[in-house]
Symmetry: C2
Subunit: 341 residues, 2 copies
Amino acid sequence: MPKNDLYLKALAGEPVPRPPVWMMRQAGRYLPSYLKLQEKYDFFTRCETPELVAQITCLPIDEIGPDAAILFSDILVVPRALGWDIEMKPGVGPVIDKPISSVDDAMRVRKGDVQESLGYVMDGIRATKDQLDDRVPLIGFSGAPWTLLCYMIEGQGSKDFAKAKAFCYQHPEAADHLLSLLTDVIIDYLNAQVEAGVHAVQVFDSWAGLLGPDDFNTLAMPWLKKISEEVKGVPVVLFAKGAWYALERLAWRTNASALSIDWTVSPEYARQATRREVTLQGNFDPSRLLSPIPEIRKQVKRMIDRFGKDRYIVNLGHGILPNIPVDNARAFVDAVKGYGA
Amino acid sequence: MPKNDLYLKALAGEPVPRPPVWMMRQAGRYLPSYLKLQEKYDFFTRCETPELVAQITCLPIDEIGPDAAILFSDILVVPRALGWDIEMKPGVGPVIDKPISSVDDAMRVRKGDVQESLGYVMDGIRATKDQLDDRVPLIGFSGAPWTLLCYMIEGQGSKDFAKAKAFCYQHPEAADHLLSLLTDVIIDYLNAQVEAGVHAVQVFDSWAGLLGPDDFNTLAMPWLKKISEEVKGVPVVLFAKGAWYALERLAWRTNASALSIDWTVSPEYARQATRREVTLQGNFDPSRLLSPIPEIRKQVKRMIDRFGKDRYIVNLGHGILPNIPVDNARAFVDAVKGYGA
């Protein structure tokens, strides 16, 4: 067990002196130490080299001091493992070679062996655990089926993923096949991460909020539910970004220990929708980290007051932005650590 | 009064045999007849030439048959009138020359005379009214202060408008000055549109949903409220896209006749939050127009059943997408017209 167990206690619903804190993308581009590694190694080299994964995952632990580490990796390692070539284009983001454009393309996708194709992630977890030396828990993660399907059909980032959505509306059976297959892959992948030693896993459904409530019920909900039930041995955290309308059903009808929420959801709404069924994680507006530091401190305190210190994990409402000063990120974490003192 | 008054009756809360229907951006890039004009005239020429405004505004009325026309224009005509050069870059969207980057920049903005700088819009309204010949009501519009401020600081479209948000968090007084000034300009502008003959106005706060509920209360709500109170003589419709959490306060604390909502809000949630205080407008997922036509028909019927036929204006949850087949747009409108038959 990690020496700092605040994060795991919050997930288990046990009382804590103060809530734990970490930040999505905390090992990312706002850290000068990360940018130096970015200059030397390309994106997938950073993801696929266990020593680099360990080093990058631990950067914020050493420099900022959050209560949990999240494995440095990317949600697109899964489509890559399924055979797609993905390029990280500067200024554009990920671009997928030959995205799925027909029912035939969709039906041809095969599951494969996760241990074989994604073994480097498990090696990265083991290397990270060595380097973390049980200071804080390690969080594993995966993209959710709907979000991965968005990229695999659209071929790149998009404001509305209209191509991916149109495919699902025009070919519901092919979409179902893909989502079901991705779900199975993700379950295997997350269980392999658990076996390699992560203390919890988070599923990122970054594009859930592009779906209306009815489409969420067919394209996102069943798969998130299945993943939450079939990942064994550690708590599962679900982050269906933008899907405020689904908080109640995610809390009550899945096996998630916690739900991560974005900053459009007030603490009061989130608590009312989920009652005490789950732990909540979030939801500081990432842009708000550009506020003056005294304002950050004030708002963090107010946020914790409103969520309550228990069954709560302080985080951002989405990944940290590249232009956040390190001092501001540190002020955010420190404000949580000073809560109630 | 227009011969087809379904839209105005729905805004007034009067019973109708079936709800009215129109589509945001209905005079836009999915129409082959529009694309021909796009080839011949650049964007601001199309906006600033009264004959073209009239012609484009009427295209969907002739070809698709909605129950209201919305003036062809753009929300960025207001920053343009305030002195900014704006270029429409293909594949990028609007790019503003010398965006606001300091408190001094913000404090230097002056209001000017709307009739003088935006007189061409009023000419466009008069030309459109001639051509419409009272077949359907004409809707005027403006961008909301927060959304215009986003562009004026960020300089172009953005996923998160983090620069604009950071400016507001770091310089709240300068932001307040800008928002207050924009509000006054927008009120003058919309009242001038009313005087020129529009039957209703809609205020587009397209980026409201980037704000959490607290920031919405300072950066969006007071200005939307003031606009709704000071535009005289016609119903005001507010569209705070993504701000589901603000529906209740927008319904109860502004003078809006209707609220437009996006597709993440279920009819039941929207009705409960607003009760019978306002008319609701929306909220078909624009991507859903890529569904097979029988599916569009089925979903339109279901949507009306859930909202109820009265105090309801059928629309999309956001602008129509460029790749929507004209037949699908027509099927959407026809499905509403056939409702209850």
